[in-house]
Symmetry: C2
């Protein structure tokens, strides 16, 4: 129960429910979970190129010759990669493994920025898009990294901010509308 209660969002009650389930379920089910946890930890590697998590190094994306090597999307978290893959990104990634946060005590040095700078210097991509989240900490992280990358002469971009597709003007916040007005573009 103590171990289970350390999972995110799991408290005393839920860990108790999990523990009794694991005791009463068929033995194979419980041992499968134990095995999967051990195997996942043993097999998962950090890609030495992009800092993504995978079972191989370099990761499957970095190793794929069909990807556009000129466009790097810099994301906070390995989970963001699945989102951008679904949205059709065909370039490469760089995983920061977090974001600068004074609240959580995360400094720029705790992220993989040094690896990113070394990689940009070595591979000379035509564009680095900083795809951190559109909030205060994500924006601050993007500004900090952008300042370092610009010294290398690479084009640095940011994801578009504006109206979310499918939204209604009545329902979105003032800051979303302000972004949408500031970023207005020629009608295609």
């Amino acid at each position: 129960m103590e171990c289970l209660a350390r999972l995110p969002g799991v408290g005393a009650k839920t860990s108790e429910r999990f523990a009794y389930h694991l005791l009463r379920a068929p033995e194979a089910e419980a041992l499968d979970l134990a095995h999967a946890i051990r195997a996942a930890r043993e097999r998962t590697k950090v890609c030495s190129e992009c800092c993504n998590l995978d079972e191989v190094d370099p990761c499957a994306i970095c190793a794929d010759p069909a990807r556009d090597r000129g466009l790097l999307l810099v994301v906070e978290d390995p989970r963001d990669i699945a989102s951008f893959e679904g949205a059709g990104h065909r370039g490469l990634y760089h995983v920061l493994q977090g974001r600068v946060s004074s609240v959580e005590g995360i400094a720029p040095e705790d992220l993989t920025v040094a690896a990113l700078v070394a990689r940009v210097r070595r591979t000379q991509p035509r564009e680095v898009c900083l795809a951190t989240n559109p909030d205060l900490e994500g924006e601050g992280t993007a500004q900090w990294i952008g300042a370092r990358l610009r010294e290398l002469g690479v084009t640095v971009t940011r994801l578009a901010r504006g109206m979310p597709a499918g939204a209604n003007i009545h329902q979105v916040s003032t800051s979303i509308l302000a972004d949408a007005m500031a970023g207005r573009r020629p009608l295609p």
Copy 2:
């Protein structure tokens, strides 16, 4: 009850509750509502310049000499104006009074597009921003109007689409991420 049940979102049960409330409340409260409805209908005018609703014609915004007359924001609905005022728009507006919708049987001729075209020809603004909603019908409406306005040689723009401020990459839809990637901009 029949009259009250025609209000949007009010069904049989709610209209019954409203009706009994109006019968049992102090007489002044009931008569105030009756009077306010009548007064609002009698006094509200459609602005002959921008088709907004107001008690004066031209409306308070069109009559304000401090507004930037070179920038027209074209909105679907008078209620959108309050949103954009809150977000800091200091130009003028044009209210379409709806959107092209095959489902609801609304054709371009049912909107105030002819008045918009005449106004643009007459006042020659430097930019018309089509601020219809970022969904299928709003997009279609913008394309239809944009084609007519471009013949007049005016710059036609659209609100930015992208990540809503404060959102999280894990939680937004694929189409929002695709917009955010397509519209990415130089880091400011």
